[in-house]
Every structure is written in structure tokens, then in C-alpha cells.
Subunit: 171 residues, 2 copies
DNA sequence: GGGCGCATGTAATGAGTTACATGATTGA
DNA sequence: TCAATCATGTAACTCATTACATGCGCCC
């Protein structure tokens, strides 16, 4: 229900059409959601059918009509509910990368280090990107800060792993 | 491919049947994977068809025959490949909980704090659980340590958020 | 005039989960 | 004896992605 919450939250601040919503999410919220176009349209249709949002078609020139969505009272109700549910619950993050870590002992330490250093490059880039985003008010503020906190911890951790693996090679 | 890597990695250390694999994963690896029974069986079938593993049925009493799997050379090859790929790449974690955070400003600070404190309880429990696991050698060592590092950072971060929100209520 | 951005939509596919069904064994 | 555990399997379903198709408008 996170995706629904997100769409409702964005529509609450401003009526928008599907393309616009997807565009915003893709531009500014990639660090916490990945919502494809088809999914966005699908979800909007679904929420319209449930009566959470209403649709208002506007024509601009000869382009395909924009389907501009707005929250209904029922939508607002559900926004409130979903927001509270989301804030109150902690859903543990799963790290697919940990499975590799589980078997890192099967590789010679020197090779493991080389591979993890490649991982480190991408991770450091992600962190740099997150830190490069100028301070935000509003929607993104906490999300970006959280991302920075998380990535910093990940980087420290990875360095520790690499450090301990290289101790093994010196002996 | 993480799930395949995991199954291959476990089979590499010891031949096992589906139930056994699922059981091990559910008992000891919940913090990094959630693999349902049906999925485990499906994946094993798939990997058998691809020639990564072979099956050896053994009957114990009158029970359903155990289908004990073992790695083939092709399976070993793919284990090596998948492990290297996994270690070398960083796949960013997505936090569904961040979407709530994005809209936390829509709630009165006092209520937001109450909700986040509920989140904190679960989070603190997860951390306590992870820390309670006795020091491990082998497969789980790094995974558990990583989990502790991550959860500690999350908890600190959450406390910071709650702290800053309560500043708002004092003014 | 050609490619990109706007704006929608849908059919096929895939991965994974749910919810079943079966039936023997073990232990309280 | 009754529930839980062992051990498998599969059909239906959900959710999301991929990969298309359409066609206008804008800018170089």
C-alpha cells in the first residue's frame, strides 16, 4: 500500500495526471520508490474504481486528453489511514547483497576484496549523489536525510568488511 | 538471482532436500531472505531442468520420498559466477517506510511522534533479536553483523527524527 | 524532417505468494 | 487421540514489469 499512499499524498497537495505523477516520482523519489509508468496508470485506475480519486479530463491542443486526478473525501480518509499505518510500523529491509556476503568465505580473500571494492564504488557514488541533493523542505527532506544516514552506515560497514578480509591476507 | 545463489551455496556445503533447505532458510536467514516453500520447490525444479543440480530420491519409511539435490559441475560454475556478480554489485535498498516519512509533516507533531514510537518498538525488538544471536562462524557471521550495523543506524536515525519532531511541539 | 518529450493504454509475461491437498510420523 | 512436524506438490491469483502501440507538439 506504499505506492497508493505515495500517489494519494502527491494528489493531496495538487491535482495531477498520470504522466505528471510518474514523472515526479521518477525525478525526485528514485531513492525510495521505483514506480513504472504502467503501474502508475494501473494504480490510478484502481483507486478511481474504489472511489478514492476522481478523474477530470482536460484537452490541451490535439494531444491525448490528460486525465487529471483529484482526491475524494474517501481518498483523504484512506490517505490518513495508510499514513498512520505506515508510520507506526517498521517493515524490515531485506538486503539481497547479504547472500553474497554469506558465502564470501568461499572465495580467496584477495579476490573477495577486489569484488567488494567494485561494490564500494557504486555505493560511494550513491552516497555522493544523495549528499549532492540541495537541502529540501517538504516532502523529500526526511527521505534524503534517511538515505544519507543509511548509505553512510553501509559504506562504513563495507570498509570494515574489506579491512577484516585484508587482515587475513597479511597472515 | 540471489535466491538461486543461496540455494546453490547451501547445496554446495551439503546435499539437501527441499523441505530441509526451506527450513534452514526460514530458521536462520529470515533477516536477509524470505523464501516460501512453493518458491523453493519451484526454484529447485527450475535449476534441475537447467542442469545446475541433480536429484536423488531417497525413501524413509512410508513418507513422501525425499528429493535430495546435489550440485553439478555446471551448478558450481554458476555458483561462482553468481557469487562474484553479487559481491561486485551494490543494489540499493528501498525503504517503503520512507513514503510515510515523506508525508509526516501532514500530521500534528504529537501524533507523528506517537506513531513513530510504535515503529521504534518493533525496530528495537529486531535489533535486540539480531544482537541476541550468539556469535557465529561460517555462513551467517557477516549477515548478522551487517543486520546489527544496519538496525543500529536505523534506530539512531529514528530517534533523531522523533527528537526533531518534539522540538516542534515545545515551540 | 527527424527525434525527443508529452500522454495514454494494453497484452503478455514473470516472479512470487496464497491457499489448498495429500498422507505418514512423532510426541504429548 | 489429536496436534504438530515431516515432505511434497499444484492451481489460482496478485502484483508489477516489459514491451509494445498510438499520435500530437516542439525544437533544432
Amino acid at each position: 500500500m506504499e505506492r497508493e499512499l505515495l500517489l494519494l499524498g502527491l494528489l493531496r497537495r495538487q491535482d495531477m495526471h498520470g504522466y505528471q505523477l510518474h514523472d515526479f516520482i521518477e525525478s525526485y523519489m528514485t531513492m525510495c520508490v521505483d514506480l513504472k509508468k504502467a503501474t502508475a496508470y494501473f494504480l490510478l485506475d484502481k483507486m478511481e474504481q474504489m472511489g478514492w480519486i476522481t478523474q477530470n479530463s482536460t484537452q490541451v491542443g490535439n494531444r491525448p486528453t490528460r486525465r487529471v486526478y483529484a482526491l475524494t473525501p474517501l481518498g483523504e480518509e484512506n490517505f490518513q489511514r495508510l499514513l498512520r499505518e505506515n508510520l507506526a510500523s517498521y517493515l524490515p529491509a531485506r538486503f539481497g547483497s547479504d547472500i553474497g556476503l554469506a558465502f564470501v568465505g568461499e572465495l580467496p580473500a584477495t579476490e573477495a576484496i577486489t569484488l567488494l571494492q567494485q561494490r564500494r564504488v557504486t555505493l560511494a557514488e550513491s552516497l555522493a549523489n544523495a549528499q549532492a541533493i540541495p537541502p529540501h523542505e517538504g516532502v523529500l527532506q526526511w527521505v534524503i536525510e534517511h538515505q544519507v544516514v543509511h548509505l553512510t552506515a553501509e559504506l562504513q560497514w563495507l570498509d570494515q568488511v574489506i579491512g577484516r578480509l585484508s587482515e587475513n591476507t597479511h597472515s
